[in-house]
């Protein structure tokens, strides 16, 4: 029983990692850069939802939808202003930009007087609800995360696998020059990708807020999502979720059964083991350059 309860907690926590990892993978798949700002976008999304719900008094669903839409728009704008000017530069430049964006986002939020340095709670209707199934305790907040994550993942997977735009995004990440030659509007797609990633981040932020609260540093959880993405294979959307689950469950179990300290580094040990055994993660493409 204990074990099952731990696994359930692990799954719930894993879904959180997976959800954030989804954002990483999304950006990576479509632009081949790693966004270090994903956690901060999530934080902005949560603050956005908070502002709408508590300060502007929007009803819950309206607030959620507006927050996601607003963040999507913000993502597009961000791409337009900050990323686009250096589109085509080596991927690492863009990684640096995202680090910068992270600093700015955190700084800006912190600067809001009376709000930025505080921790807030998001008034969601399902707060603190628990279902007892036998001796197990299921937590509404966690169940919502699991459900939403699965849906988002399926949706994004379909987009990338079957839609023309999705394939074009991958194409432009693999060879931008050729994408231009094909008339693929690389810049516009990039905008869409960042919009999408911000929207996903907003969803993550809103779902996470009841558990971790809303504060300027909530984005740091993204550091745990990196291992999740890697374990799953960085280019794979389902991999992000599976990776998240693996990490979540391992963490939860090692926290209970292993000596102190292991829980905190379990994720990283899993990553290292994975990289030794299967360097491209569970679902990553096996890549080898043909010469």
């Amino acid at each position: 029983m204990q074990f099952i309860q731990l696994v359930i907690s692990g799954i719930a926590q894993g879904c959180i990692y997976g959800l954030i990892a989804l954002g990483f993978v999304l950006i990576y798949k479509a632009t081949e850069t790693v966004s270090f700002a994903q956690g901060e976008l999530m934080m902005l999304g949560a603050f956005c939802g908070l502002a709408l719900m508590t300060f502007m008094g929007f009803p819950f669903w309206l607030a959620v939808i507006s927050a996601i839409a607003a963040m999507a728009a913000f993502g597009v704008l961000l791409e337009r202003i900050v990323i686009r000017p250096i589109l085509g530069q080596p991927a690492f430049s863009i990684v640096m930009l995202t680090i910068g964006i992270g600093y700015v986002a955190r700084g800006l939020i912190t600067m809001i007087p009376g709000i930025g340095t505080e921790t807030h709670t998001l008034p969601v209707p399902y707060k603190d609800q628990v279902w007892n199934v036998g001796a197990l305790v299921l937590n509404a907040e966690q169940m919502v995360i699991i459900g939403a994550t699965t849906m988002l993942c399926a949706l994004l997977f379909a987009v990338f696998r079957y839609s023309k735009v999705g394939i074009a995004m991958q194409a432009s990440s693999q060879n931008q020059l050729a994408a231009y030659y094909m008339g693929i509007p690389v810049k516009r797609l990039n905008g869409i990708v960042w919009g999408l990633a911000s929207a996903v981040a907003a969803v993550a932020g809103l779902l996470l807020a009841p558990i971790t609260f809303v504060h300027a540093n909530m984005g740091f959880i993204g550091l745990k999502a990196f291992p999740a993405a890697v374990v799953g294979g960085f280019g794979s959307l389902p991999g992000a979720i599976v990776g998240g689950l693996v990490i979540g469950i391992v963490e939860s179990l090692s926290g209970f059964y292993l000596p102190e300290g292991f829980k905190d580094i379990a994720a990283y040990i899993v990553v290292l083991v994975m990289l030794m055994v299967k360097p491209n993660g569970l679902f990553g493409d096996k890549l080898r350059k043909k010469v």
């Binding site: 023309k164 394939i167 074009a168 991958q170 194409a171 693999q174 060879n175 020059l177 050729a178 994408a179 231009y180 030659y181 094909m182 008339g183 693929i184 509007p185 690389v186 810049k187 516009r188 493409d285 890549l287 350059k289 043909k290």
Partner: protein, 265 residues
């Protein structure tokens, strides 16, 4: 080729005026002016580093010219976004293949048709390129990056055909293709020109092929156009014969290893 070719009209589809492009401090082409008329095949000859690729890249907006203007179908496309230019009905087979290595062959071809909306037309063209290059059909689900060099070249050309463009820029289409396929490629190029009326600008090291397939030719040296004429007449010029067609007056070069200076007679 027996079918009646569409008449080459006098209106230029593509017009370059005094174009100058540079990579940093290196000026790769200087004051190039050329025209491609609707329905014709034009070719640019030139030795290594003459700037042929640079011209094509400048046309499709991959590099912005320092000076001069590029006009496509009467509209200026100077320094526009490459995606925009391609959407105007131009497609470019780049030097060095540039396939999408991690997409399947089929998806690569689909990307070629990105700017098109007509589903039926796309399916038809897909069928057509599969007939041109049966190996692509065989490998439709394989990652393009794992194809052999020549197969990738076929894919690059096919991808461009899939775009059903008005103007096709071909940068060394025969690179790495077997002799048999090289001929076939040129036949396909000519067929596309004749059957669909696609205007073509061709850059090719295989000058013999290029001069036979094209209507009009330019010779580029050190970033400048030094000669232009119809291909029929170019084929008769001595320098062309010697330097581009490899037909030597006996004993001029032969097995000896000195180079005659080109003076563009």
């Amino acid at each position: 080729m027996t079918q009646n070719p569409p008449a080459v009209s006098d209106t230029p589809v593509l017009k370059l005026l005094n174009v100058e492009s540079a990579y940093g401090p290196i000026r790769a082409i200087r004051g190039v002016s050329l025209q491609v008329r609707r329905g014709e095949i034009a070719t640019v000859l030139g030795s290594n580093g003459a700037g042929k690729t640079t011209i094509l890249k400048t046309i499709s907006g991959i590099i912005d010219p320092r000076k001069g203007s590029v006009e496509f179908k009467g509209e200026s496309i100077t320094a526009k976004d490459p995606a925009y230019i391609v959407q105007q009905g131009l497609s470019h087979v780049p030097e060095g293949r540039e396939v999408f290595p991690l997409l399947s062959v089929h998806d690569n071809l689909l990307m070629g048709a990105y700017t098109r909306k007509d589903k039926d037309g796309i399916a038809r063209d897909m069928e057509a390129v599969y007939t041109y290059f049966p190996i692509l059909r065989e490998r439709a689900q394989q990652d393009a990056g794992l194809l052999s060099g020549g197969q990738q070249q076929m894919l690059a050309i096919s991808r461009s055909i899939m775009a059903a463009p008005d103007l096709m820029l071909l940068d060394e289409p025969s690179l790495g293709l077997s002799p048999k396929l090289t001929k076939e490629i040129f036949e396909i190029v000519v067929r596309i020109n004749r059957e669909r009326g696609t205007t073509i600008l061709l850059v090719e090291q295989n000058a013999n092929m290029a001069l036979n397939a094209s209507d009009y030719g330019y010779v580029l040296e050190n970033g400048r156009i030094v000669m232009e004429d119809t291909c029929a007449r170019l084929r008769e010029k001595d320098d062309i014969k010697e330097f581009y067609l490899g037909m030597k007056e006996a004993g001029v070069r032969g097995e000896r290893r000195w180079k005659k200076k080109k003076n563009w007679r």
